[in-house]
Amino acid sequence: MQGQRYEPFAHHFPLSQFLQQLLNGLFLGSIYALIALGYTMVYGVLRFINFAHGDVFMLGAFTGLYLHKLLGPMMAMMPWPVAMLVILLLAMIICAAAGILIEFLAYRPLRDKPRLNVLITAIGVSLLLEYTAQLVFGATQQPFPVIIPKGNIGGLGGLTVTITQVIVLVTAVVLMIALRFIVMKTKLGMAMRALSLNPTASALMGVNNSVVISFTFGLGSALAAAGGILYASLYPSIEPFMGVLPGLKAFVAAVLGGIGNIPGAALGGLIIGVTETLVAGYSDTLGIPSGYRDGVAFVILILILLFKPSGLLGKAEREKV
């Protein structure tokens, strides 16, 4: 200590700890981003918030669990990346179908009714999914199977990164790139963008808006399912209400990025994940108990609604009545 310059913050804020928290936030945030994309895409085409979206995330995790049970013997024979891919893709397909079905049964009949009706219906669908899941899967926590081998990636200079975390981030990034390709380069993606800009005009171009809306729900639900499986891989204990908080936080992420804006949702997810993790990681320094980490997203929601309601990347849009 002698002769060393006194650095008041060096003790509280070592760089490596900060980087570690930042990384942890990034992994969590990439999952929020996946969920947020579904909120924002559905908002884009229907101008309503699908509050049941977080429960599709839960459904994704349970689908993964049951697929793993069902395919157990086959899973054991596959190398783990293949097993992971099989479960991920199957769960995405099943949940895409579930999302399309939810829209068809619950939201489509209300399409020409005031928007409040469908918003309240979405809350109803959310409760229905949660309590049906409780009935079917049971109310207790269930362990999610370990598909990705445990272990750390070495050579990161004191930072701890598990293989699971890397897989989570890589999967999330690949899915977001795939989504960007679909939205920007495919015909259906262009129809989605056109529909979100002007549904009357897209219909006059020959777009069957209902098909595009179904497609959007399928796409969003598939991403939420992937998010559910990745989340369950990071925190391998799942239960029917696991989608509530991540769902709400992802909704905040979508608003933060600018609701309806796809890159915005991804950015918002990362910001929420990182902020939340930093607040929890520095709870002693900040004087905020780490249990308040779940409140962070909502403080951000209040701030963004007060100061920039259109979100970080969103354009101000006048509500059309």
Partner: protein, 240 residues
């Protein structure tokens, strides 16, 4: 020459809530002609087009296109039959580029060479669009957006085109070139045109036949030349 009714509307009735907007409108559009629908604001001109293209439901009456009953089909099914509606206010996709807007127009087409040729046709028709093809459509002037809306409609390869107020809110110099192109589209491509216009002078000058609509009913139905000399029409719609 045999006269073929491309579009035949019989006793069309449309309402918004309890208010009736059309009280049994009947009109005919011959193949290859330009027919105009003129009248004051609120006469039901746009409503007629919206009911034909399936954007609003008809409560009564029939819409026949090419001999087929298309009443209350969904809009995408009507476009697929070659009946295309350029709506009032242009409705270009503001955040999409000019080229993406044109591609949206060709949404239902699978013939890539044909689509490319029609895009070229659109650019030749309105060279301004070619200059701005990578620009977001919403950044263009009203007149340029109207050009885009027409070119976009051509991309669907229509046999009948319905244009709603193409001159609305557009600089007079552009109105002229847009109307020249409308006539050219009709002549060169043989596309039948149903034109709704508040500028009755202009509409009757380019059209073959005209209907005057008043409060949801057809008041006059005559050749455009005759309507231009009709004293009542002159007094009410042509500024004396």
């Amino acid at each position: 020459m045999e006269v073929v009714n491309m579009l035949e509307i019989e006793n069309l009735e449309v309402g918004y809530g309890t208010i009736k907007a059309l009280h049994g409108v009947s009109l005919r559009v011959n193949q290859g002609s330009i027919v105009t629908l003129i009248g004051a604001n609120g006469a039901g001109k746009s409503t007629t087009l919206r009911a034909i293209s399936g954007l609003i439901k008809a409560r009564g009456g029939k819409v026949r296109y090419d001999g087929e009953d298309i009443t209350n089909l969904p809009p995408h099914a009507i476009v697929a039959r070659g009946l295309c509606h350029v709506p009032e206010g242009r409705m270009v996709f503001a955040n999409l580029t000019v080229e993406e807007n044109l591609r949206m127009g060709a949404y239902l087409r699978k013939d890539k060479p044909g689509v490319a040729a029609d895009m070229e046709f659109g650019y030749e028709m309105f060279p301004r669009l070619r200059e701005r093809r990578h620009q977001a459509a919403g950044t263009m002037s009203g007149g340029e957006q109207q050009m885009l809306a027409i070119a976009r409609a051509i991309m669907s390869k229509p046999r009948c085109l319905m244009l709603d107020e193409p001159s609305l809110g557009i600089a007079p110099i552009l109105v002229r070139s847009i109307f020249e192109q409308i006539v050219a589209i009709n002549k060169a491509r043989g596309i039948t045109i149903l034109l709704v216009e508040q500028n009755a002078n202009l509409a009757l000058a380019v059209s073959h036949h005209g209907y005057v609509l008043e409060t949801g009913k057809v008041l006059f139905d005559d050749t455009s030349a005759a309507l231009r000399t009709n004293p009542q029409v002159r007094a009410a719609y042509l500024g004396g």
